[in-house]
Symmetry: C2
Subunit: 195 residues, 2 copies
Amino acid sequence: MTREAVLDSRQEILRTAARLFQQRGYDATSMNDVAAALKLSKGGLYHHFQSKDEILFEIMNHAMDLTQERVLAPVGNIADPEERLRALIRLHIEVVLSPRDREITVMLHENHPLPPGLRKRINQRKKEYVHYVESLMADVQKVRRAKGSVSPRAAAFALLGMINWIYQWYKPEGNLQTNNLVPQFTEMVFGGILA
Amino acid sequence: MTREAVLDSRQEILRTAARLFQQRGYDATSMNDVAAALKLSKGGLYHHFQSKDEILFEIMNHAMDLTQERVLAPVGNIADPEERLRALIRLHIEVVLSPRDREITVMLHENHPLPPGLRKRINQRKKEYVHYVESLMADVQKVRRAKGSVSPRAAAFALLGMINWIYQWYKPEGNLQTNNLVPQFTEMVFGGILA
């Protein structure tokens, strides 16, 4: 197999496993279930991943890769802080609602305790994202001369809560979709519910 | 035992089970573990709860009772919509950060799939709370003559995301505590991050 084909089959395993974990729960899904859903032998699956915890970690790590590629990389090219924040809100919501990757990014919120070494690596990546958003909030508040009643850190946590919570209520057939959610959440971040 | 003593011991079981579920994960915690932590015989535990799913359901149900008693009941007495929303934000954050009940309310976000009948009952109670907040947002926007770029529903989901996400980042030793978080989140809801 080429390196691309190996990468593709790893990602297919992660996507299938993520879907099963959400449908049945992480603990109720066995390595056998994952292998069967992929029409792989158990040996074939273990060739790629040594344990279910490794699969969960790699799903979470892939979700952070997606955030890096589709949110942080593009906004890094935008000089104006306010435009950068507007782009981050839009791109982060797009990743969270992406039909292809929704099952991957949702797994960032799985409560199953990972082995300490793996948990530390994911938490480090999550922390870096929080710090990026916090520092962006500070830049926006500075150029827009905010009155100062909201700290950049509280603002960052509020924004991440608004966006990361979407998976709890989102319905593919509902009225709130990316196209109308992005402008509403953006308005709220800049002007609150009275905007 | 009096009715009060039975209620107390049920609540002690729920609180202990919630703590174990969070430390070890829901699936990794057995009924034996719960009984041992309470110094109860397995029979003593099964006298109160027939299964682990029933315990999880009752934890979630108790969390919704706390929301009813400590958020919805008190705000129901406030006539002015803006004051009612300010009180709801404060009281909801206080419930989420209550040292005594934090382990109970966090379990509302446990992803383990409950049997359909139980899941339906919890989802119904969660939905009623969302609808209450949505209708309160509409009232506030009306009296404050909001410009109309944010729908009450998107505003309700944003607020619930901000507050319910707190458990993901909150640290008892951190700088953000109830006393400074409440005014900052309130400012953001009414005026955004530039307030």
